[in-house]
Each structure stands twice: as C-alpha cells, then as structure tokens.
C-alpha cells in the first residue's frame, strides 16, 4: 500500500536522522565547548574530525583493529595534538579580536586539510567493519543499521558524559569557571592557559572520536573538513552556545532536518538544508534553543 510505504519511509528517515544527529552532536560538542569557554570560533574543527577518521582508518589497516576499539588511541593522540595547538599557537592570539582567531584557525584548517591530501590523497575512503551492512529489522518495515547504532550510542554517550564531567569534576568546574570569567578564575589560582589548552585538547579529542565514528558509517575525504565545521556551527548555534546539552539538541535536530530534507528535496539540495536551518534559527531565535544565558556573563580581565 502506498500509504504504508510512505509511513515506513518517513519512519526510516526519522531513525536515520536521529542516528546521524547523534553523531553530529559529538562532532559539534567540542566546537561548542571551545566557542563557549574561550570565545574562539575554531574553523579547523572539521579538519580535526577528518584527522580522527584517517587515524582510525590507518590503525585499522595496519593492525586490523575495529575502529570503535581504536577510539582510546585516537582520543589520546588528538588530545595531545589539540593541547599543543592551543598552548603554542591559538594561545598567542587568545586576547586578540575574534577576527584574528578566525584567521588563525582558517589558516590552520588549510594546513591540516592540505597535509592530509598530501598524505592520504583526496580520494574518498571508508573504514570497513564486519557489521557495516548488518541491520536489525524493526516493525513497520524499518531497518536499524548496527554500525550506525553503535556510532550514535557512542556519540550521544560521550556528549552526555562530557556534560556530566563539566559539572561534577574538579577540572570540569575549572573549565566552566574560566569560561565565565577568566580573571576571576585566575584569582582562584586556576592556571587559565593550562585550562584553555585542556579544553581545546578535549574538544579535538572528541572531534577525532566523532571522525572515527563518521568513518565507519560513511565515506570521508579531506574535503569534508568544511562540511563538518559547518555542521558544528549550525548544531552549536541551534542548541545554544557552550552548553553540552545544546550541542546534543542541535545535532539531533540537524540530523532530522537533513534526513527529512533528503526525502523531500532533490539530492543536490540536501547540502543546503544545514544552511537553511542556520538562517531560520538566526532569524527566529538567535540565542539558540537552550539559550546562551549560561555564558552570558562573560568578563575579560
């Protein structure tokens, strides 16, 4: 029956959208964290996502390790990279106007992307897993792909864990405090430069893990870096800057918008969905869904 078919198509698209949205949340959460805490719009964020995908790909092709099991290695490697990049590069211009940090991270993105093209070529790749094509049959003729389910659960789990750690650990509290008022945090004896570097390292580690997840459920190439930065930007603004839950809502909504858009729009227009969502949000509710109030009281020394 045509109506049943439409219904199951809609459900299938919704399920795909939610799974994809969960991964978007993890892609975006680090971007949102860095923006909220350091007031840096990191245009190289998407490049770190792709770098994580390549690292998981290489680990898989050298050792055969499952990309989800290589997540700790990817996380540690990208954390170290992010820490060093912030401490010795971004930190140089941390007090400069936002335009300067935009320029710096834009340049950084070019360097990383072109470095990856030299190392890995511009060809599209995908990390093969034994269960990539396995899927569970759900009622209503809807299929639940196992690989996407694992990726989404990992992504949502990490996003929620980050939110919890921010509120309930010593270092999380220091990050929040430094984000709200760096000068006051330093008066508490908190080493702001170190906290910034930790924050950036954490964000890059999460981006790298998101990249490993992305690499198992689809294809990637260095050229995707800009797309991931755009997704991060949209999800972060959509959900409200700097809040972990905001990145989650924003990511899920973006995933749904893309999946539904894919059902209704011709293929080439799907890429415009993220932009369209961004424009609508900025016009209707510029403070995002979860609001920005949490970080509104920003003070600089």
């Amino acid at each position: 029956m045509a109506r049943d078919h439409l219904m199951s198509q809609f459900l299938q698209a919704t399920l795909y959208g939610l799974l994809q949205g969960g991964v978007f949340a993890l892609v975006a959460v680090g971007f949102s964290l860095v923006w909220g805490v350091m007031n840096v719009v990191n245009l190289a964020h998407g490049a770190f996502v792709v770098a994580g995908a390549y690292l998981a790909f290489e680990l898989h092709s050298w050792t055969g390790i499952d990309p989800f099991l290589s997540v700790p290695v990817v996380a540690v490697a990208l954390f170290a990279l992010g820490y060093l990049v912030q401490r010795y590069l971004v930190n140089l211009v941390i007090n400069a106007p936002v335009f300067i940090t935009l320029l710096l991270t834009f340049g950084l993105e070019l360097v990383i992307v072109n470095g990856m093209i030299m190392l890995f070529t511009a060809n599209y790749r995908s990390i093969p897993t034994g269960y990539a094509t396995t899927s569970l049959a759900l009622p209503g003729d809807v299929r639940l792909p196992l690989g996407r389910l694992i990726a989404a659960l990992l992504a949502v789990g990490l996003t929620l864990a980050l939110g919890y750690l921010m509120r309930h650990t010593r270092i999380g509290l220091a990050i929040l405090a430094t984000g709200m008022d760096r000068g006051a945090a330093r008066l508490m004896g908190i080493k702001a430069a170190h906290v910034y570097a930790l924050t950036f390292g954490l964000a890059v580690a999460l981006a790298g893990i998101a990249g490993a997840a992305v690499g198992t459920i689809g294809t990637f190439s260095p050229a995707d870096a800009g797309r991931f930065t755009l997704f991060s930007f949209v999800a972060a603004v959509l959900g409200g800057l700097g809040t972990m839950s905001g990145a989650l809502y924003g990511g899920l909504l973006l995933g749904l918008a893309e999946a539904w858009g894919g059902q209704l729009l011709p293929g080439t227009l799907v890429n415009a969905v993220a932009f369209a969502v961004l424009v609508v949000v900025l016009a209707v509710r510029p403070q995002g869904l979860a609001g920005r109030s949490f970080y509104a009281a920003r003070v600089e020394v």
């Binding site: 509290l173 000068g183 004896g189």
Partner: protein, 230 residues
C-alpha cells in the same frame, strides 16, 4: 612577615595612576585604604593580585618577591583578592563558587566559611547570580577564604549594600583577622573602614597623602572634612 607593596608606580598604558605608593599589612591586622573615586585604590589592589603589572616597585609576601608573578601564582602564595564587582561565577551554585575558592588547595570543607556567614548555608544550591547584593558580597568573601589565605584584599565592600549589611559583614572581618589573616580593605565609606581598621592610608591622585593609626586618621581635620563630611 607581612604583605608589602613597596614604592609602587603603575597605570594603564602610558597613563600612570599610582606614584611611589607603599602599603603594608601585618598578619591579623586590618588596614583601611581610603580616598576619593579615581584615586587609584582599586588599581593598587589590582597590582597586589597581579591583574595589573607595576612599572616600578615590588610586591612581597614574607620577603618573597612577587613582582613578576602571575595572578595565579600570587593567589597560590596566599593572597586572596575579592575584586571590584565581586566577580562571582553567576551561573554556578554558591557551593560551586565556594569550591572554586578552594580549588588551588583542594579545600572542600565549607563549614568554617558557613559558620562565618550562616546565610550562605541556605543558599548553597542556588545560582550565585540570583543572590541579593549583600549575600553576593558574603559569598565573594567566603569564596576568597576557602583558599585559607594569609592576606585578604577586599575592594569596595560596602558598594551598593544596605548599611545594616555592611555592619554585619564588617563585624565578620574582625573575626577573620582574629585568625591571623591580614586584611587590606579598600573603601569609599571612610568612616566605617577607619572605625574597623587598626591602621589606615589616605590615597589621593595616586599618592599616599596621609597614613597612620586609624583613630588618628579619623580625627584628622582634613580627613574629617573631605571624607567623613563633618
């Protein structure tokens, strides 16, 4: 064994705000720094905590030189600064604000500061930004005390507070000093500050124009005319 600002000249950019200012605080002593708006009182505290770098002079704690120390190093040396405007973390709870005060020394024991400011005990789960002005000032002082500082610098304690609250908080300062903590109190309300303090300094246009025992300053004809409105 004291906290000393010696021969401080400092300012913003090329504009010097302070000229050769020397202020000392002994352990357990309350020292008042009074003077009109724009005299450089807050700038001196900012130099003391490293937020503004002095162009000349030195900052010392117990003969340890902190001229080149960062804000966080000075904080870790036992000097806690309650800054102008209090600078609480507004989105965080009172409890989290207090914990952040004890961040550097991993002090999570809230009991001593709650004993000093019992009102805060009922507000622990409330966002610091939602407190009344007086409670915010209490929270800011309590947060500074969480680091168990040897010296406490307080900027404009009375600003925007009801007189009855100012009295209540100032009475707490006596109890804090009695534990051996030296207090440098910057105040526009010269009368209240000089009543509380053992010694005082009068700062005008970035220069110390008078200093001495607080009672003597409060009795000085110029101080009475200019700051006490008598």
């Amino acid at each position: 064994m004291s906290f000393a600002l010696e021969g401080i000249s400092a300012g913003y950019g090329r504009v010097l705000v302070l000229h050769d200012v020397t202020v000392t605080v002994a352990p357990g002593e309350i020292v008042a720094l009074v003077g009109p708006n724009g005299a450089g009182k807050s700038t001196l505290l900012r130099v003391a905590s490293g937020m503004v770098r002095a162009s000349r002079g030195s900052v010392r704690v117990d003969d340890r030189n902190l001229d080149r120390a960062s804000i966080e190093q000075i904080a870790r040396a036992g000097v806690a600064h309650v800054p102008e405007g209090r600078r609480l973390f507004p989105g965080l709870t009172v409890r989290d604000n207090l914990r952040l005060g004890g961040w550097q020394n991993r002090n999570r024991d809230l009991e001593p500061v709650l004993a000093l400011f019992p009102r805060l005990a009922d507000r622990l789960r409330q966002a610091a930004g939602s407190l009344s002005g007086g409670e915010q000032q209490m929270c800011a002082i309590a947060r500074a005390l969480m680091s168990q500082p040897r010296f406490l610098l307080i900027d404009e304690l009375s600003l925007g507070l009801a007189p009855v609250l100012v009295d209540e908080i100032m009475a707490r300062l006596v109890a804090i000093a009695a534990t051996g903590t030296g207090i440098l109190l910057v105040e526009q309300d010269a009368g209240a500050a000089l009543e509380l303090a053992a010694r005082g300094y009068v700062l005008e246009n970035g220069v110390v124009v008078l200093e001495g025992p607080a009672a003597q300053l409060a009795g000085d004809a110029r101080v009475r005319e200019a700051y006490l409105g008598i």
